[in-house]
Symmetry: C2
């Protein structure tokens, strides 16, 4: 292998793939990044066996070849180099890296030992707008569970219903669902939330169409010059749609900024109660107020004006309430609930494609 590549391209590619290699790995080669010439381009790949990311970049290739080198070192090293042309040359399993000022030799491991995820040969293919996918993932992925004892809830559920594509995540205490509009294919896949976080990072500045291909085992997202493959999760996703309330005994419409502020302030006095706050919705005064009492610190009442129908109290985790409010896009929010143990709903008043539900705490 012998080639020239710009520091900017190499640095960008390492930034895209290295995080996957850096995650705690048992096989030493998984800490490496695979560098490989492919059809007059250079590909950089990393994998943790559940997720694999490949970034393609332009390069001036004199000799084909491939090698794996430590991802962390390579990323730190290349990001420290000045902008400009870098010469890469492989001798035995040593990668020689040279610029005017710097000459390095990095010890590699032969590429033959690098695990490659199987290709998806027969599967469904469809496309989705990159910017919409990114926005949707930002609004839902934080609601997935981090608890490995219920693996299904550590996933993001991507599925169609009457031809409409939805992405959903829940940790059983709160749930977020976003519509991505009509879709050409029937979809029913459960993707690790960690893979979706990587996808978010990768599609950061990507505005084109993301091409999606999947079979029963894996899913491939192709976004410009990056490929992300993830192993699908097994198991049946909860039938959550019946939980989303559409009628409310009590509902309030208020400015999102106001709701965020009174929740933040109240949560400061809710540390003794692990963040639990009680929200009072009052039809007579047309106000939403949150009262929190801490025996040690003191007490607080925070109030915001609202358009209110019905009166009642509900107790929520203030952290979940803030997460939910901050995931909403518009300036005005609808907050509705029924019984003390039934799911509450947060929704934009102007966008109907996103629902966020939070289960109440016992008060």
């Amino acid at each position: 292998m012998k080639l020239q590549v710009t520091q900017e391209n190499l640095n960008r590619a390492l930034g895209a793939v290295a995080r996957v290699a850096n995650s705690r790995n048992t096989l030493p080669i998984l800490s490496n990044v695979l560098i490989k010439t492919t059809n007059n381009r250079l590909s950089l790949s990393a994998t943790n066996l559940d997720i694999a990311i490949t970034q393609y970049i332009g390069a001036k290739i004199s000799e084909e070849g491939s090698i794996t080198v430590p991802a962390r070192l390579m990323q730190d090293f290349v990001s420290s180099l000045p902008a400009g042309v870098i010469d890469l040359r492989l001798e035995d399993s040593k990668l020689h890296i040279a610029t005017d000022q710097y000459k390095s030799v990095v010890n590699g491991i032969m590429a033959d030992d690098f695990p490659v995820m199987p290709e998806i040969t027969e599967g469904k293919s469809w496309a989705v707008d990159g910017a919409s996918l990114k926005r949707a993932l930002q609004q839902i992925v934080f609601a997935a569970s981090g608890d490995e004892s219920r693996p299904v809830l550590t996933g993001v559920y991507m599925h169609t219903l009457d031809g409409e594509l939805f992405v959903t995540a829940t940790d059983s205490y709160r749930l977020a669902e976003k519509s991505l509009g009509k879709n050409s294919q029937d979809v029913q896949v459960l993707i690790p939330a960690t893979a979706m976080q990587d996808l978010l990072r990768i599609v950061g500045d990507f505005d084109g169409e993301v091409e999606v291909t999947h079979d029963d085992q894996q899913i491939l997202f192709h976004a410009g010059d990056v490929d992300l493959v993830a192993r699908l999760l097994e198991g049946k996703y909860p039938d959550y749609r019946k939980l989303i309330p559409s009628q409310f005994a009590v509902s309030a419409t208020l400015k999102k900024a106001d709701f965020v502020n009174i929740t933040k302030v109240s949560s400061l006095f809710a540390r003794e109660s692990a963040g639990s706050v009680t929200i009072h919705v009052d039809e007579e005064t047309q106000q939403v107020s949150i009262r929190s009492i801490a025996s040690q610190l003191g007490e607080n009442t925070a109030t915001a004006s609202a358009k209110v129908t019905g009166s009642g109290n509900i107790t929520l985790n203030s952290r979940y309430l803030l997460d939910g409010l901050q995931a909403l896009t518009g300036d005005e929010v609808l907050f509705g609930f029924n019984g003390k143990l039934e799911a509450t709903l947060l929704k934009d008043t102007t966008h109907n494609d996103y629902s966020h539900i939070i289960m109440p705490l016992k008060s």
Copy 2:
């Protein structure tokens, strides 16, 4: 106590003092901030017994009084409130805080129990330009030791020599000294570096004169509407001046940015050797180069052009070298050394008021 204050002023004052209260304290009242009406202004104070900070702010006072309240809660709470007027009212030992939207009661502890540092009644007074003091502290304070087993080295030494004021810090592996020019008084004080870090934070945007008063026990820095009092450290500071070399067997003058870059890149290959790198200065090629070899990872040689007199090698901790280079203000640096075990010097070629020395490692 009854008064009105703006959220902006109260928030700024809490920001200035709360950090001192938040540090690990054994007496519960030390986690509190003292709020007190003083001559038509409001003062907020916090202390950890070694350092005390007081910030004065404007307020509309209807009734005099004082109280202490938990600093962390108060800071988080006030920073969450919207800009505008806040009403403060004391009833028994409860502080009532109210705006249009928020009503809080914070449980306080009576101010009588709050420890006050003794006043400096007889001492020396002098003044120093705030911006110069800030710059000087930024250039030296990081070189102080964090190791409590040699308390003298955890201090910043502020002293005059032939009427010139110097600030110095060392951890015995490296030393930084900055001149602050002529001073009206004879000074010889050893101030905890932590207090100097607090002072740095406080004089952040302050451009006026800092008035300094000290006796044998304490030092007071008065900067605009903030007072910082620190208990002085005892003990004899090392007689360091004879360590600073002025003649060199080997010296190199090069661009600071180049020296920083070759050090950074080399340090990546120096992890096995705890950051130790060997610097080669070569008169014949007029180059400074750093070579590092890691048995596992590979090896690296990084080179920069320089104006060189004499040739030789010296081994330094790359972390200390980077710290020293980054503390220099100019674009060009003089690097000089003599024997393998003698102190090396880093200096701006254009500023003669700052010296940074680093002790070499055995190579």
